[in-house]
Symmetry: C2
Subunit: 203 residues, 2 copies
Amino acid sequence: MSPAKPAIDFYFEFSSPYGYIASQLVDGFEQRVGRPVTWRPFLLGPVFKLTGQPPLIDIPIKGEYARHDFARSARLYKVPYTHPEKFPIGTVAAMRAFYWTHDRDAAQAKALAKALYQAYFAQGQDISAAPAVIEIAKGLGIDATALAAGLEDPAVKDRAKREVEAAIAARVFGSPFFIVDGEPFWGVDRMGMAEEWIKSGGW
Amino acid sequence: MSPAKPAIDFYFEFSSPYGYIASQLVDGFEQRVGRPVTWRPFLLGPVFKLTGQPPLIDIPIKGEYARHDFARSARLYKVPYTHPEKFPIGTVAAMRAFYWTHDRDAAQAKALAKALYQAYFAQGQDISAAPAVIEIAKGLGIDATALAAGLEDPAVKDRAKREVEAAIAARVFGSPFFIVDGEPFWGVDRMGMAEEWIKSGGW
């Protein structure tokens, strides 16, 4: 993969089932399109405030469909999925842990994102609280004490906040959300369209 | 195609760009899956009241994306598309004309649906008012005087109203919306998934 090729932005929220499914597919996508993917967790809460939308599963009728479709989509893409008992959850600790790790080791941050997602959507773990996030990070060899301090560091909080602001500035309104050379693609079910876009040069 | 195979319900709203795109693709879909498709226009207005959703393009940020995606999706599927000057519009006359025609000739009703959609989304015509709908129907050889009377007939109005209620009872919340043996698929971008579902027997 040529480092000269511009990265594709992959925005996701740790409490998003479709974001989780995308996280399991994006390495294959990256390989096929031959361009690097930048993982960018953000928070849907502030975005929903701007769009005036409630969380998907709180929308009457559509929410029922979504709940059914989470598991159906996971089966289609052959991704293990167990709908979490507590859903949705706050994911600010997970997001901060990601960026704290990312500023030290981008590959490890990606591994952490995958592990957090799997813990929440496949292994029945609640990842909303900092200790749960730290425990999962520790399992990957990340320094638990340093991470715990990092999660309380105002600079780290500010770093994470700026990432949410950047997602909003990029007009991201859902998860997952891909931006390819300024072209936005929303949804795990649009990854094929994004791939087609990249391969064909757009239409 | 065996008449014994149960029909697939295709719900759509005449003011929906994605419904229009689906209407141009659904004959090919019907052929490939080898099952008949029942065309069922409904109104999104009453549905949005139940789900508490504004029209898609009125949602901040997401609405901008949608507007861009209408034309992009049309290009992807090679369907002519010109975003209507007046959008969205009321489509009760179009829906009533469809069901009035359908009760006389189902094939002609389908032809009318396609002609109405093309007039609105490809030829820049406003199809909200009854005279515009009647004019388009006339072009297909439908009796304009009889249709004009039909559109004012309380029995026809009631018939159309019951169809909207049936869509709501079937938990339809968007357009296009397909139901295959009770399994719901929302969106033109899920027609491939629906096809896969039918061909594989589900997963």
